[in-house]
């Protein structure tokens, strides 16, 4: 049995967010994922991914680069637990997580 794959990304640039309460959206289920967004010191946007689907690092990088380009945020850590969500679902969850950070209804 092959284990999970763990991926790390870091994106520079963007504006540093004022400290905020952690926000959690989604759930770890087949074809789904959970996303936890937290304040972090520094001026980077760091993304940690645990995924049950191995070998999709390049696609993760593309999806997360898009996310960072859309939101232009820094001073945050995004932690993801994934069970084979498609890129579109990942993008929607990331946007939902940012809505939760801004205090909009999840």
């Amino acid at each position: 049995m092959t284990g999970m794959e763990t991926l790390h990304f870091e994106f520079d640039g963007g504006r540093v967010l004022a400290p905020f309460e952690p926000a959690l959206v989604g759930v770890v289920a087949s074809g789904n994922l959970e996303v936890l967004v937290e304040s972090a010191p520094g001026a980077a946007c760091r993304v940690d991914v645990d995924t049950s689907a191995r070998g999709f690092g390049a696609i993760w990088e593309a999806v997360l680069r898009d996310f960072h380009a859309r939101h232009g945020i820094a001073g945050v850590t995004v932690s993801i637990h994934d069970m084979g969500a498609t890129p579109a679902v990942v993008s929607l969850r990331l946007d939902q997580a940012m809505s939760a950070v801004w205090g909009a209804p999840p």
């Binding site: 284990g3 999970m4 959690l24 759930v27 770890v28 959970e34 936890l36 937290e38 637990h81």
Partner: protein, 300 residues
């Protein structure tokens, strides 16, 4: 459509809908990352809250402790950490004495990935729940998630003072697929949805006295039922347990060998039992046979 479906909500959405607005204070929140130590070895990602949110809140202004299981994560299965969070909540209730502990249950039972650790965890939850109940803290189960409440959590549910179910909720020991795989489709066809619901569903549990309050699949109805349960205590005296045991033996004898649910309802005294699957919760509420009412709260 004038209201949300309790069954289709996530655990955290349900929590927010049941307790007083913005009163939930979570213990061991996702950002604490108290996660399963077992799942990674099996190639399964952990959940930041191990599939259960626990904390304190107010309900109609009164202090309660509350937990909500997320059925989408591992079918709500109780793993080591998940179970320890429930046990910790119940033990803290013994110390802090809230008016009630309210559990929003949605679980297939023990999380098989964690085997013995999960089994031990569930038995500890039972013990802790019974301790809280014996100490006079109202224990309330709200069962309305799409995955039902089965296995060890099915037993935990029946340890509580009050069990609230919706008509589309399910509650049993062995789940339909488990029965079919061990005894064959002739014994129980898990793909026969009508059979599954009339054998494990809220209406059946209400009519046979296993569920105390039957509500519609509506968060407001669950909230109202939870508020009404804050002052319901069923002390476990020897006399009460003996009476319950006698009634259960009588019910088992009535059921005989292999009675279908509809046949059982008829034998228990439900008129026109055939119509039950098509009725809504309000219509079924008035049909409970007087003979089984003493098994449940508020029955007379």
């Amino acid at each position: 459509m004038n209201s949300a479906s309790f069954a289709e909500m996530s655990a955290r959405q349900r929590l927010a809908a049941i307790v007083d607005d913005r009163s939930f204070h979570e213990w061991l929140p996702p950002s604490d990352r108290v996660t399963s130590p077992h799942l990674a070895q099996l190639g399964v990602p952990a959940a930041f809250d191990d599939g259960v949110a626990i904390g304190r809140a107010t309900l109609s202004g009164r202090a309660i402790f509350v937990a909500a299981q997320e059925g989408e994560f591992m079918g709500g299965g109780v793993g080591e950490v998940h179970g320890a969070k429930l046990v910790g909540l119940l033990r803290r209730a013994l110390r802090d004495r809230p008016d009630a502990v309210v559990l929003l249950a949605e679980s297939g039972g023990v999380r098989l990935h964690e085997a013995n650790a999960g089994l031990i965890a569930v038995s500890e939850v039972m013990r802790a729940l019974l301790d809280a109940r014996a100490a006079g803290i109202a224990t309330v189960m709200l069962i309305g998630g799409a995955n039902g409440c089965f296995g060890g959590m099915g037993i935990v549910a029946r340890c509580a003072d009050t069990v609230v179910m919706s008509d589309i909720a399910r509650h049993a020991m062995s789940g339909p697929e488990v029965i079919e795989s061990s005894n064959g489709a002739g014994e129980f066809d898990s793909r026969d949805r009508a059979l599954v619901w009339r054998t494990t569903g809220g209406k059946h549990r209400w009519l046979t006295g296993d569920c105390d309050v039957l509500v519609e699949d509506d968060p407001a109805a669950f909230r109202a039922a939870a508020i009404a349960a804050l002052d319901v205590h069923r002390p476990m005296t020897l006399a009460a347990l003996q009476q319950e045991s006698m009634l259960l033996q009588w019910r088992t004898a009535i059921a005989g060998e292999g009675a279908d649910a509809i046949e059982l309802w008829t034998l228990l005294g439900v008129a026109d039992a055939r119509a039950v699957p098509d009725l809504d919760a309000a219509a079924v509420r008035v049909l409970r046979p007087a003979a089984v009412a003493p098994l449940a709260n508020g029955g007379a």
